[in-house]
Every structure is written in C-alpha cells, then in structure tokens.
C-alpha cells in the first residue's frame, strides 16, 4: 500500500510494505469495530424522556465477558503482529545476506560523504571514489554499508528503500540493501542535526552495471 506513495526500490521495501498492509488490515478491523460500537451506543442510548439508564456494574462474570472476549481476540491479533514484525525485522535489519560490495557512509554537519569501492569492488584501495551527497549503486547488487558520523547524530534515510539508520558518532553501524529499481531517489537526514538539517538532501542513483562502470571511468578521468 505504501508503494502508491513511494516507489519500492529495494528487496526490504517489499517486506516492510507487506507488514504495513498486515497491520493496516488488523488494526483497521479493530478501529471499525470500536468506532461502530461507540457510535451505535451513542445513538441508541441517547437520553429519551421516560427511559431510565440501567444499572450494570461490569463486575459480574457474564458482564465481564463483554470486555474479556475482545480482550482475548486483541491478544491473538497482537501475537500475529508480533510474529510478523519480528520475522521482518530479522530479515531486514538483523541478518545480513552475503555482500557483493561494501560502501561507507559518513555523515557530518551537513553533508553525506559516500565512499564507493571503485571498479575493483573493494573499500580502502586506491581506486575508491568519494562523493558528497551523491550515491551511485548498481542494480541487483547486495550492498553492505558502514555508517558513522563525524560530529552529531544524523540518520541515513532512503524512503524508496524503506531504509533508515541513525549515524552515531563513535560507533559504526552495518546494514544492507539490494536495489531493485533503476532511477534517482531522495536521501534524507531523519534526525535533527542542527541548522542545516533540512539542507543535507543527497541523491541516490541506481544504475545498470554498464552505467556504473562508465561513471567510475568518468570520475577517474576527472582525477576525483
């Protein structure tokens, strides 16, 4: 359902959208039921002359059932949602599939520095390509990223990937994504980081391997 609003550009986007839909259906049911009961009661038991209110303490067993039964059903729904959430989390955030390439992301006030591995596909070699606010990825490639910050807490957020991870100074957080859709997308900072918080948008470009290689070539021609 989220894909109506934001394109799905990674494998985890699919998983998260699925969970979102599951939750929407479940809580939507409860929402409709509760609102329907509320408004029905409001309408049916409005004050009418000559009709007195009844005396119900809610302490007797048969009365308590009115809330203990929905209560049990809520627990069942909660269990379903918890299982769904934990499995998705494990797949998206906790277990890293084997990496094809690694990139490094360093946040600072107020820019993103991306260290691409270069044509050899390895970080910390001569041909690494560093860019500011410009991330280039190959489609259908599993990336591991190493995220850190130089000064304050930032948050690396790519809505099209459904990816968000805070960049914390003093720690390196690893994560993964696998782009599945060509195009350019927004990268935002999602954690307030000072005056320029709104002004550190970066662009993500997902390219075919050929385009990606050509971009590397153009970078080395510039001497960048």
């Amino acid at each position: 359902m989220l894909s109506w609003l934001v394109p799905q550009a990674s494998t985890s986007a699919r998983d998260i959208d699925w969970l979102f839909a599951l939750i929407l259906v479940t809580v939507g049911f409860w929402f409709v039921v509760a609102q329907a009961a509320l408004f029905t009661f409001i309408f049916r038991f409005r004050r009418r002359p000559g009709v007195a209110a009844s005396y119900i303490s809610g302490e007797r067993k048969e009365e308590k059932r009115w809330i203990s039964r929905p209560h049990a059903l809520v627990i069942v729904c909660d269990v379903v949602l918890i299982v769904g959430a934990l499995l998705t989390w494990k797949a998206v955030k906790q277990d890293l599939p084997p990496a094809d390439e690694r990139i490094r992301i360093v946040a600072q006030q107020w820019a993103w520095v991306f260290v691409h591995p270069g044509p050899d596909g390895k970080l910390d070699t001569e041909d690494d390509v560093r860019t500011v606010n410009d991330l280039r990825l190959k489609i259908d490639t599993t990336y591991h990223f190493e995220l850190t910050s130089r000064d304050v807490v930032h948050s690396f957020s790519v809505p099209a990937f459904r990816l968000k991870q805070d960049a914390v100074p003093g720690r390196i957080v690893t994560g993964w994504f696998r782009p599945t859709r060509l195009g350019t997308y927004d990268i935002q900072c999602a954690e307030i980081c000072g005056i320029g918080h709104a002004l550190m948008p970066a662009r993500l470009t997902i390219e075919t391997p050929a385009e990606h290689a050509a971009w590397y070539a153009s970078r080395s021609a510039q001497g960048g």
């Binding site: 360093v106 850190t148 910050s149 100074p169 003093g170 720690r171 390196i172 957080v173 690893t174």
Partner: protein, 112 residues
C-alpha cells in the same frame, strides 16, 4: 509530643549496630588490598550492600516500618536494574550484532 502518632518503639542497641558497621567497613577496605577481583567484588560491593541494608533496617527503622515501604524502595532499585539491563547491551558492550564502537572520525581539516 510529636502530634503525628509516632508510636514509641523499643530501640535496638544502636552502638552495637554501629560497631558492626565499622567492622564491615574495615573488611571492605582491607579485602580489595589482596587484589583478587572476586574478593574485591565480594568485600567492596557485597559488604556495601550489607552495610546499606543494615543502615536502612536499623537506623532508618525499616525493620519496624510497614512492609510496603520495603516494596516501594525495592521497586525503585529494581527499576534501576531494569534500566541497567536495557542500556548495557548498547553502552557497556564494545560492540554487538551489526555495530561496534570506534574512535569517532575526526574532521580531516585541522584549524589549530
């Protein structure tokens, strides 16, 4: 006299309690001098817990206070244990799944 209904109670011998506390205090200072980590742990912190309990029980009269005051204070300590348990995996640990502590990246441009 107090106007608050403080019931007169039989007092324990405070000087005896005090002397016991002093003995424990001496143990807590001497124990760590041996340098065994576990001995330090027991003598320094185990004895501290005993001393604090004695102060609470005899000097603060918790032994004759209503039971739920114990529960109240214990709940607060338990919440601190909860806080510790929840925070330690991030702050105490050197690293965990998919993250590790590092010295922060310094700005490459030095000005001084």
């Amino acid at each position: 006299m107090s106007g608050q209904g403080t019931e007169a109670t039989s007092h324990p011998n405070y000087v005896k309690v005090y002397l016991a506390l002093l003995v424990l205090f001496a143990i807590s200072v001497v124990g760590p001098l041996f340098g065994h980590p576990w001995l330090t742990l027991v003598t320094a912190f185990g004895v501290a817990a005993v001393k604090a309990t004695m102060v609470a029980a005899y000097f603060m009269h918790l032994n004759i206070e209503r039971r739920y005051i114990w529960y109240l204070l214990f709940t607060m300590v338990a919440f601190m244990g909860l806080l510790f348990a929840g925070v330690a995996p991030d702050v105490l640990a050197q690293g965990g799944q998919n993250w590790r502590h590092v010295r922060p990246a310094q700005p490459a441009v030095g000005h001084h």
